[in-house]
Amino acid sequence: MTASWIGFAYLLASALFILGMKRLGSPRTAPAGNRMAAVGMLIAIVATLFHEEIVRFEGIVAGATVGALIGAIAAQRVKMTAMPQMVATFNGLGGGASALVAGAELIRLAEQGVAPSPFVSVPIVLGTLIGAVTFTGSFVAFAKLQELISGKPTVFPLQHLLNLVLGLGLLGLGGALILQPEELRLFWTILGLAGLLGVLLVIPIGGADMPVVISLLNSYSGLAACATGFVIQNHALIIGGSLVGASGIILTQIMCRAMNRSLANVLFGGFGATTTRTGAGPASATGPVKSGSAEDAAAILDAARSVIIVPGYGLAVAQAQHVVRELGDRLIQRGINVKYAIHPVAGRMPGHMNVLLAEADVPYELLIEMEEINPSFPHTDVALVIGANDVTNPSARDDPSSEIYGMPILEVDRARTVMVCKRSLNPGFAGVDNPLFTLPQTMMLFGDGKKMMEEVLRAINEI
């Protein structure tokens, strides 16, 4: 079918994908790795253009031009804080493209009056199902992250039953399509209902769980490409799709572990839907809270020998990355040992906080992962927590009755002094009180993260 040299070009492309991803093993080699993968993609695309079935180029040129323009502009313009939305959107587009390719192949076979064997029709059904769920699910994830719709779980009675019926119905329709591949109405029905299922599966998942959802949808977009590869018997599609599928599965596991939740619990738990969040003000915390001024904080920081900065997503919301980096630099200039502690779910997607800090020019050598930095807290003078809450909550470690018990945390409470910069005592995403705020060694710095850090920086400069 395909000329053998095209097959070799696909082999080269697949090898470049694997080598490229291997180079993502270190920040130093990663840019070259990404370019290698891009070259692999270019080789695969150019080789495909020589495929015997490619006769008309107008449609390709039109589609590719529109797509390339949108992709390039989006890649240039997107803010690093909006990266999860962008990745969600791209997952969705990839899944959608795979579903359409599966459908196009089914229709082409029907137009030619060829009845596909189950080896082709089964992956067509799978590609359509996974692709359509990824497409709509990703756009719901996008809307939640962009706060176009509420980040709270949308739950209604008999939701799981409805999803189950819909899922089983889709399997039945898929079986029917495999038996009657010429019945195209079945395909359109599957496409539509799978799209509906994608929406229904993501709406009950809370905004805080989006890192898991994006990772899972990332995996789906790869698996959809894989299924399409089975349809058109293309090795490059299968290898590329598998790599992405594997990557998404690994990231999903890492995110689940970081929140101490099972995947089933994230997908079907509706976490946070039932917990009522307490209002603003100290009413939600018990015990005396010690609050300090920027000057107090500056004096303590200046006297410290070691400081660990613990950034949370609140820091990015307040756009405080740059001033925090300046503060960190100033402390380093004064001979203080400064590190940044990164919890796996500090941002809105895997590795998000690292990108936000890299954008602010914090050297990646100073960004230390949770397991590695936790043993350092007991001999650290100051832990400076900015915009992070649940990931520092000691009850996750100490209180078996806590809702977040068992979630791995950054053990900031073991530092000699803890400073927490926060707008108020409101509980975080999980809606759980944080006893860290009432510890004797904790000083609260109430205010907007950016303004407060600017004041601390100014106060330090005056010392």
């Binding site: 994908f17 694997i18 993502l24 920040p27 990663a30 790795g33 990404n34 370019r35 993968a37 891009a38 993609m41 253009l49 495929h51 008309r56 449609g59 390709i60 797509g67 390339a68 992709g71 390039a72 989006a74 890649a75 240039q76 990266m83 990745v87 791209f90 587009l93 990839g94 493209a97 359409l100 196009a104 192949e105 229709i107 082409r108 137009e111 990332n218 959809a224 894989c226 590869g229 349809v231 058109i232 090795h235 490059a236 599609l237 299968i238 590329g240 799709g241 992405v244 599928g245 998404g248 690994i250 941002g347 997607m349 895997p350 590795g351 690292n354 990108v355 890299a358 020019d361 050297p363």
Partner: protein, 99 residues
Amino acid sequence: MEESFALIITIFVLAMFVGFEVITKVPPTLHTPLMSGSNAISGITIIGALISAAAENITLSSTLGIIAVALATVNVVGGFLVTDRMLKMFTSKRSKENR
């Protein structure tokens, strides 16, 4: 047909193994670029889209193919470019000076 199916299943399973091996070695610092970069790779579905889109006669099938080409191109072009943009931040001038 069955023989070639066994072959592509083999490729699929082996590729999954390679994927797990390679990706477990990516440090958490680079997980966001890993996602956006792998996202671009999932745009490989563009190959299937190209073949469907370029059939001799314009039909429903080739129309779906053209839409798929557009979607997959956004994925490929946007994915690689945004990953490059991010990775450059990790190796900015300052980082190099500090090394």
